[in-house]
Amino acid sequence: MRPLFPFHGGIHPAEHKSPSTQHGIAVAPLPARLVVTLRQHSGSPASPVVAVGDQVLKGQLIGAAEGLISSSVHAPSSGRVVAIEKQPAPHVSGLPDLSIVLETDGEERWVERQKMDFCNTDPALLRQHFQDMGVVGLGGAVFPSHVKLNASGLDTLVINAAECEPFISCDDMLMRERAAEVVKGISIAQYIMGAREVLIGIEDNKPQAIAAMQAACEETGFEVVAVPTLYPSGSAKQLIKLLTGKEVTSGGHPTQMGIQCFNVATVYTMHRVINHGEPVISRLVTLTGNMDEPRNYEVLIGTPIGDLLKLARPKADTTGYLMGGPMMGVPLLDLSVPVVKATNCIIATSQALFPPLPRAMPCIRCARCAQACPAELQPQELFWFSKSRNFEKAREYKLFDCIECGCCNYVCPSHIPLVQFYRFAKSEMLAHEKDRKAADLARERHEFREFRQEREKQEKAARHAAKAAEMAAKAAETTAGSGESVAGADDAAAAKKAAIQAAIERAKAKKAAVKPQNVDDLPAEAQAKIDEIDLRRAQASETAGQRVAIQKSDEGQGA
C-alpha cells in the first residue's frame, strides 16, 4: 500500500454519481448543425483556415493554433461551412464567441488519417503534432497539452482520474470501458516526458474503474492508487500532494519538481491521435441530474446542448442546466450553446436536487472555511478584503492561490457567496493590472516623446546658431535688409501649405485616375458598397478642400 499525503481541508458532498453509470457509454447521434467555437482551450483562440461555403471532411483542420498557448480545432464531421460568426458560447458571461458553423452532410467522410509510430519519433515533433491535433486538458481547464508535455526526465507522471466533483461520471465510464486504450495513451505521455514512475489516482468510490485500470496496467509498471473520496482531490495540485507529498510552488509548474499531471480523458485522446490519427473532435459527456435517462454519451464537439439533452429527457420540473459539476460548473443560460472540449457534464437542476440555500448572513468569523480550504488560505479574510474592494490586501493574503473549488462556500454557515467575491476580486485585479500596464506604456512613450522633442529642439537650435553665424559672416560682407529673415519664415510656411494642398490635389487626381479592377459583373450589393465608399471619399476630399479654403481665408483676414 502506497503511503498517501492528505491535503488540508476538503469536503464530502453527496456524490449522485450512480444514476449516470447504470448504462454503458452511448454514441450521440449526428446533429444537423455543428457549432465549433474557436476558443475551445485556454490561451489565444484559433484562427479560422476555412471560408464560408467550403466543403470540409471529418477531422479536417478548420482553425489553426495562434501562438504557443493555443490549440487547433477540427471539423467534427463532414459537411459545409455555413457561417464564421459570433455564436452563443458556454461561457459564464453568456457572451457570444467567434465560431465556425458546419452543416453536416451525414456521410461522415474522414480526412486521411495518419497513424504514428511514437516510439521512434522525436518528442518535440509529437508535441507539435498534439497542438495541430487539438489535444487539450479535458478535465475542465482545457489547457493546451503540448505546453504541459514540454519537459523530460520526469520522476512522476500523475494521471488524474479522481473525478471528485459530484454528479460527473464520464472519466469513470471511460476507464471502465476503455481502460486498455487509456493505458496506451499513458504510455505515449510517459514516453514524451521520460517519466520513471506513473501513478494513476482514482477516488475509491469508483471500484469498477479501479479494477479495470488495474487489469489494464498489468505488466506496464503503472500504479493505480485508490485515493479517499474527498473533494477536491481531482484538483491537480491537491492530487500531486496526495500522491507524492510534494507541493507545487505558488505560481510555479509541477515539472520544476519532476512531476506532471494529465487528466485520464486527455491521455485517451493522445492515444486516439497517435494510434488512430484522429484529432480531438469528440468527448464523453455525462448527462445527469433531474433527467429520466441519465447516461454518458460520446458527443461530437459542436453539438448543440439542446439537441443533446433530448437524449436524456429532462423531467418537467427542471429549473435550469449546469455545465460541469455543482461545485465549479457554469450555468447554461441558453441551450443553443454547443458542446466544447471542456464540457464534461450537463446537469439538469431541480428544487429537490438543489434546494435553495438559506439567506446569506454576515460573516461570524467561525473559520470553518479556513478548515475546509485545500489551498490553506483564510477565506474569511479574503472575503472581507474582496467585499471592501481592498485588492492590495487580498493579494497579500494570496487570493491568487485560490483555486475557486468552492469548499469554503459549501461549509459556510452564513451562506455567503464567497467564491463569487473571489471571482469578482480576481477579475477586477487582472483588469487593473492590464490598465496599469497600458498606462505605464503610455507614460513611458509620452516621456520619451517629450525627451525626443527636447532633443530635436536643441539640435535645431544648434543648427540655427551655426547657420546664423554663417549668415552673420556673410552679412558682414554684403549689407542686407533687416526684414529679410521674417519674410523668409513666411515664405517657408506658405511653401509648406502649398505642398499640402498639392498633395491633396495629387491624391484626388490619383484616386480619379485609378481605375478599379475586377469590377465588371459585380453583384448588386458589392456595387452598392463600392458606390458608398466612393461617396465617402468624395465627401472627405470635399471637406478637406473646404477646410484648406477656410484656413486660407483666415490667413487672408489676418494678413
Binding site: 459530484p166 495540485k237 450555468p331 448572513m361 488560505l377
Partner: protein
C-alpha cells in the same frame, strides 16, 4: 436563485450553531438550579426577553429583516452568558441594564452580528461591575450553606422589589465567593491551607460552584465534539492559567492557591469554553487562537491574584479581544505552495 456555482452547501446555519451553544449550557444551568435555587432561571428569562426586545428594536431601526436575525440566536447566547455571569439574586433592573448595554452598545453600535470587536456579554458584565460593584458582589451562598432558606416567592420579592422576608437580612443568604474569600483573607496574612479549611471550600474549589464548573467543562467538550469550537482556545486558556498558577504555587504554596483551585473557581470554565471561544471576538488562525487563549489565561490569573477584582476572566477576555486583529494579522498560516511557516499579514 443564483445559478453561479457552487450550488450545493451544508444546510448548517448560524442559528443551529447558536442553538447548540445554548444546549451545551443547559446541564450546567440545571446543576446551578440544584445548588442555588430557581432564581437563576428568572434571571436568564429576563435577560433573554431584554436582549430580544433590544435586538428587535435596533434591527428595525437598521432595517434588517427581523425574523431571520432574531432567530439567529446570537442575542440569546449573549443574554444567557451575561445572566450566568452575574449573581442570581441580582435585582431585575441590573440584569436588564446589563443586557441592553451588551446588545445595544457592544453589539449593534459596532455594526451588529459579526462586526463587534468585544464580547457583548463581557462588555455588559464589565459595565455592571464598574457601575454597580456592590450589587455585583452579593453572591448567594449555596443552599446547603445558607443560614436561611428563602422560598421562590421570597426570592422574587427580593429580585423585583428589593424586599427581604421579615426579620431577615441580606447577609443571611449571601456569602463571599471562594475567590473573594481567598483575596480578603490573604490580606489578613492568613495561610492558604488555613483559609481553605473554611466551610465554603471543597476538594477542587468552592462547594457547589466546582460542580457547575465541571458541567461547563462537559458542555464545552460537547461543543468540541460537535466541531462548534476548536480545542485551541480552551486548551491554551486552561493550560496557561494552570501553568501560571502552578508557578506561583510552587514558589509559595502558603500564599498562592493550587492551580486546580483556579481552574474550577470563578468564571474559568465558563470563560474558557463559552466566552473566549466566541467566533466574532476571537482570532481565526490556529496559532492566533493559542496565543489568544494563553493571553486570557495569564491575564485572568494576574488580575485575580494581583488586581482589585476577585475574578479576572471578564477583563482578561476584553483585554485580549482588543488584540484580536493584531494577533490575526501576525499569525497568518502558510499558504499551500508557499515557503515558510506562517506569514505576517501585510508583510513578506
Amino acid at each position: 436563485m443564483s445559478m453561479n456555482s457552487p450550488l450545493v452547501a451544508e444546510q448548517a446555519t448560524v442559528n443551529v450553531i447558536m442553538l447548540k451553544v445554548l444546549a451545551a449550557l443547559l446541564p450546567a444551568i440545571a446543576v446551578y438550579v440544584f445548588f442555588f435555587g430557581p432564581a437563576i432561571l428568572v434571571s436568564i428569562l429576563l435577560a433573554s426577553v431584554a436582549a430580544l426586545l433590544t435586538e428587535a428594536a435596533v434591527l428595525h431601526l437598521r432595517r434588517y429583516p427581523l425574523r431571520v436575525y432574531l432567530l439567529d440566536g446570537s442575542a440569546l447566547v449573549t443574554a444567557w452568558l451575561l445572566a450566568l455571569s452575574i449573581p442570581p439574586l441580582a435585582p431585575w433592573w441590573l440584569v436588564v441594564v446589563g443586557t441592553v448595554f451588551a446588545i445595544l452598545v457592544a453589539k449593534h453600535l459596532y455594526g451588529g452580528l459579526g462586526n463587534n470587536l468585544f464580547n457583548p456579554a463581557m462588555v455588559g458584565f464589565a459595565a455592571l461591575m464598574i457601575s454597580f460593584p456592590s450589587h455585583m458582589t452579593h453572591w448567594p451562598a449555596p443552599d446547603m450553606l445558607a443560614q436561611s432558606h428563602w422560598s421562590f416567592t421570597q426570592q422574587m420579592d427580593f429580585m423585583f422589589g428589593g424586599e427581604f422576608p421579615a426579620g431577615d437580612r441580606l447577609d443571611a443568604i449571601t456569602m463571599a465567593t471562594p475567590l473573594d474569600t481567598l483575596k480578603t483573607q490573604l490580606h489578613l496574612d492568613r495561610e492558604i491551607s488555613e483559609i481553605q479549611s473554611g466551610k465554603i471550600f471543597s476538594i477542587l474549589s468552592g462547594k457547589g460552584t466546582e460542580i457547575i464548573a465541571l458541567f461547563y467543562l462537559l458542555g464545552g467538550l460537547f461543543l468540541w465534539q460537535q466541531r462548534i469550537i476548536s480545542w485551541h482556545i480552551p486548551a491554551s486558556f486552561l493550560a496557561a492559567m494552570f501553568g501560571t498558577a502552578g508557578l506561583f504555587y510552587l514558589f509559595d504554596p502558603g500564599h498562592y492557591a493550587s492551580p486546580m483551585f483556579h481552574l474550577f473557581a470563578g468564571g474559568t470554565m465558563l470563560g474558557a469554553f463559552f466566552i473566549a471561544t466566541d467566533y466574532v471576538t476571537s482570532p481565526t488562525t490556529p496559532m492566533g487562537k493559542l496565543i489568544f487563549g494563553a493571553g486570557i489565561g495569564v491575564s485572568a490569573y494576574v488580575i485575580r491574584v494581583l488586581g482589585g477584582y476577585p475574578d479576572g476572566v471578564a477583563f482578561a477576555v476584553l483585554f485580549l479581544n482588543s488584540a484580536v486583529p493584531l494577533i490575526d494579522a501576525y499569525t497568518q498560516p502558510r499558504v499551500f505552495g508557499h515557503a515558510g511557516k506562517w506569514f505576517k499579514g501585510g508583510k513578506e
